[in-house]
């Protein structure tokens, strides 16, 4: 029993969390001057959904808070109260309390009851401070601190005047007429109802008028049998029960189940009116289908699938390799089958990887709140602009990128954007902008955090670096100077604030991003702003690699880092201090990294003009990797070397080749760095 319930709890927690998140983003997006009725409705519905399911599951504290929240929201959306900035603050605070309660229930901890009481009081005060009431919930404010007992929410009261209901049918036109007849008959048994408008080609909504005394919740219940539940609008006849449709998926999972079949069968004798065909239904709401037909799956299951596919890929290439020696004529069918297997495996791999892909909006959505709260605290005006929220990346990365990005944004708010007075003095608009951007570039995903603040201060950073005893000189390029801020304990902020300035953070940001196989770049211009660019690989599990041979060893070079490969002629090789260290390619001198030397591999080619040069690029620097030969190009499954062994310099991970042997994947960034550091020694 308890196990069963806890399974449902999990769904409830997840859904409630989603509702809270969507409520928060809606609140933040609300224009206080002219609130959008649809947004208010959506906020109300989110609160309502939480209340409903919290009540069902017996989380009374959650239900209490949402109840007060809901009553207040209800009055606002019905026009009984004008929304004010302090209300938004109170709602956000209520959202936080709800999140805390939710977390407390989920993790078995306890939330602070004082906080709950405080927020109830605050919300009730807002309700009380309001002018005349439309809803029945209003007369209660004085005792609201003990809010649990507030009776009937407004929605359950009996409407004093005629109701008008509008909705979009959730069925084919064939079934519609019969269903509507049934619905009217059913309604008529309670209250007289009349059809005032049928659906037409340009408006898919049906409208009914129901006599005074009807209970909106009961009417809604009936309508839900035939109509899309998110399309139902019930209001007093004079109220502008808006035409605008919203399918924000407030009812989450349950929309997907079409309630129609039984009714459709009942009404099947009705002939299809030609006017009521599919196009209208399609013209109705924003497409919500994608959200409706999703299922929740444990991430572990997906990971297991990814691992299995990895093994399958290895087995497949093992088979392909064994078969490659067989006579293609005699074993034609085997070869054809293997080719088919390869295609299927690749498709399957892509499909499974795409399951793990999530839009980055999952991370971005939390930043409006971060920006708002922090800007308010620091007395700054900041607008957050996000683009590319739909960019997808691996779920594992999504989770891990969130903290570093939050830190970069906090940093931009605290150090980047100036306070309004300073901005005006500088001739900038008082409101600063933080631009958050995500997009794909090549095999990686790029996330930019840009601000139009004061930019980094070269002199300050250099002075600070000297103070900390870091090896710096005045000739360093700007790029090198900016990178200093990622040094541990580095902070140029004059005063330590609650937000930043303690020097912890930027180095952690860089380390976390590097651990994900990504890197950070900084561009900055004094007085114009700063842009931090984070580059991450698309996925953690598989990469496209080029296998290269050195002696008897095979190594994998990540394809994304390879610019070209070429065979050098003696004329291209330049010596520095008698050592062949550079090659001259297309007007550029590239340092040479000889893998046999670096890894002390015997039996390889030694002369630079005998082997192959693979030109690599990492962190904006280039180097030529000297290997014996190129073997081939294929996707490889990344296996950690560190889980059972340790970090090896120059190696990022391992993989398993088609023959079952292990091959090591080169850490290109480290190799290029080695080439750079090897050069001055030789010079």
């Amino acid at each position: 029993m308890s196990i069963d319930m806890s399974q449902f709890y999990q769904v409830f927690f997840e859904e409630a969390q989603e509702h809270l998140d969507s409520m928060e983003s809606l609140l933040l997006g609300l224009d206080i001057g002219a609130p959008d009725a649809e947004q208010l409705n959506a906020i109300f519905r989110a609160a309502h959904s939480i209340k409903g399911s919290a009540g069902t599951f017996g989380f009374t504290d959650l239900a209490e808070v949402t109840h007060i929240l809901e009553s207040l929201l209800d009055r606002i959306r019905k026009g009984g109260l004008a929304i004010r900035a302090d209300m938004i603050d109170a709602f956000l605070a209520a959202g936080d309390v709800l999140k805390a309660l939710l977390a407390a229930h989920r993790d078995g901890g306890a939330a602070d009851p004082a906080q709950v009481a405080a927020i109830c009081q605050r919300l009730s005060a807002l309700t009380a401070g309001a002018p005349s009431s439309v809803s029945a919930a209003a007369p209660e404010p004085a005792v609201a601190a003990a809010a649990a007992q507030i009776p009937v929410p407004a929605a359950v009261t009996v409407a004093p005047e005629e109701l008008e209901a509008s909705f979009v049918l959730d069925m084919d036109a064939d079934a519609a007429v019969g269903a509507i007849d049934n619905l009217l008959a059913e309604l008529d048994r309670h209250w007289p109802a009349t059809m005032i408008k049928r659906a037409s080609a340009d408006d898919p909504r049906w409208r009914l008028r129901i006599a005074a005394g009807a209970e909106p919740e009961i009417v809604r219940g009936m309508l839900e049998f035939v109509a899309r539940s998110d399309s139902i609008r019930i209001g007093a006849t004079d109220a502008k029960a808006s035409d605008a449709d919203d399918s924000d998926g407030a009812y989450g999972l349950f929309d997907a189940v079409p309630p129609a079949p039984t009714l459709a069968a009942a009404g099947s004798e009705a002939a299809a009116p030609p006017a009521l065909t599919r196009p209208e239904r399609r013209s109705a709401p924003r497409p919500a289908a994608a959200a409706e037909s999703s299922i929740r799956v444990d991430v572990d299951k997906v990971d297991q699938l990814v691992n299995l596919i990895g093994e399958l890929v290895i087995t497949q290439s093992m088979l392909a390799q064994s078969a490659s020696t067989l006579d293609p004529v005699k074993f034609e069918r085997l070869h054809a089958g293997l080719a088919q297997l390869e295609r299927n495996t690749r498709d399957m791999q892509e499909a499974v990887m795409s399951v793990r892909m999530m839009p980055i909006s999952a991370v971005f959505s939390r930043f409006p709140r971060v920006v708002r709260d922090l800007a308010q605290k620091l007395g700054k005006q900041i607008e957050l602009r996000t683009t590319g929220e739909d960019t997808e990346l691996d779920k594992g990365l999504i989770e891990r990128i969130s903290d570093p990005l939050t830190h970069l944004i906090r940093n931009s708010i605290d150090h980047g954007v100036e306070i309004p007075a300073d901005r005006i003095a500088l001739g900038k608009p008082p409101t600063g902008t933080i631009a958050l951007k995500a997009y794909h570039q090549g095999g990686s995903i790029v996330i930019e955090v840009g601000d139009d603040g004061g930019g980094l201060n070269r002199h300050k950073i250099l002075a600070k670096a000297r103070e900390r005893g870091l090896p710096v000189h005045d000739q360093m390029s700007d790029g090198e100077v900016w990178l200093l801020i990622f040094e541990p304990g580095f902070s140029t902020a004059e005063k330590v604030t609650e937000v930043s300035g303690r020097g912890v953070g930027m180095d952690v940001v860089k380390r976390n991003i590097a651990a994900m196989g990504g890197r950070v770049e900084i561009e900055s211009m004094t007085g114009i702003g700063t842009r931090m660019t984070v580059r991450l690989p698309l996925t953690l599990a598989i990469l496209d690699g080029m296998s290269v041979a050195v002696g008897k060893e095979t190594y994998i070079v990540p394809l994304g880092h390879i610019l070209e490969s070429l065979q050098v002629e003696t004329g291209m090789i330049k010596s520095v201090s008698g050592v062949e260290r550079l090659i001259h390619v297309r007007g550029e001198y590239l340092p040479v990294v000889a893998l046999y030397e670096l890894f002390r591999i015997s039996g390889s080619k030694k002369r630079l003009d005998e082997g192959i040069m693979v030109v690599l690029e990492a962190d904006g620097a280039k180097a030529a990797l000297f290997v014996d030969a190129l073997l081939g190009q294929h996707p490889v499954v990344i296996k950690s070397l560190e889980s059972n062994y340790r970090k090896v310099p120059g190696i990022s991970a391992a993989t398993i080749m088609g023959d079952g042997h292990v091959a090591l994947i080169l850490d290109v960034a480290a190799l290029v760095q080695m080439a750079k550091s090897a050069l001055p020694e030789a010079a």
Binding site: N307, G310, E311, I314, E553, L598, F599, R600, I601, K639, S640, L641, E642, S643, N644, Y645, R646, K647, V648, P649, G650, I651, A654, I656, G660, H661, V662, A663, L664
Partner: protein
């Protein structure tokens, strides 16, 4: 010579607290060692590992253990004892050291013995190949003297260089 894995796995009571426990014994040159069998995952033949650049000589490299990358340490090279040659009879003991999977190459695997806690006597300061810090004690079984090794501590020790320095610091 070869121990069946089934026999090894059959036992799981009497871990630390029990009076008797099962130990796997192997030889390194003339010395015979015993390790807790619960740390042993399997015993397999030696296959050529992929070498790791600039690693210590006793680290033979890494192998593909059904999709897991496991390092292989040749204890004969590490302790400079026995013949470090690789024949079809060379065996690798795959160990589970906490969450890690590590293989060790030894001269030969002897058998599985039941040892009573009282049987294991503290080791005097003596010149064993393995540092006494990693030795739990000595034990006599018939004519043989077994050196009972805390294989987990040995494998995680800095001198094996199997884990990152950051982990060793603690």
């Amino acid at each position: 010579m070869m121990v069946q894995q089934g026999a090894a796995r059959g036992h799981d009571a009497g871990d630390e607290g029990g009076d008797t426990a099962e130990y796997l014994t192997f030889t390194l040159g003339p010395e015979e060692y015993a390790i807790d069998i619960l740390k042993v995952q399997e015993i397999r033949g030696y296959e050529l590992p992929t070498t790791i650049a600039n690693a210590p000589v006793f680290l033979k490299g890494v192998i593909n253990l059904r999709g897991t990358i496991a390092p292989i340490v040749d204890l004969r090279i590490k302790f400079n004892i026995g013949e470090a040659e690789y024949t079809p009879f060379t065996v690798v003991i795959i160990l589970n050291i906490g969450p890690r999977v590590v293989g060790i190459v030894v001269d030969s695997v002897s058998d599985v013995v039941m040892l009573n806690a009282q049987q294991i006597r503290p080791a005097p300061e003596f010149a064993a190949t393995v540092d006494t810090r990693y030795i739990n004690g000595l034990c006599t079984v018939g004519e043989r003297m077994l050196i009972v090794v805390d294989i987990e501590r040995l494998m995680l020790s800095p001198e094996m260089a199997l884990v990152d320095a950051a982990h060793q610091a603690q």
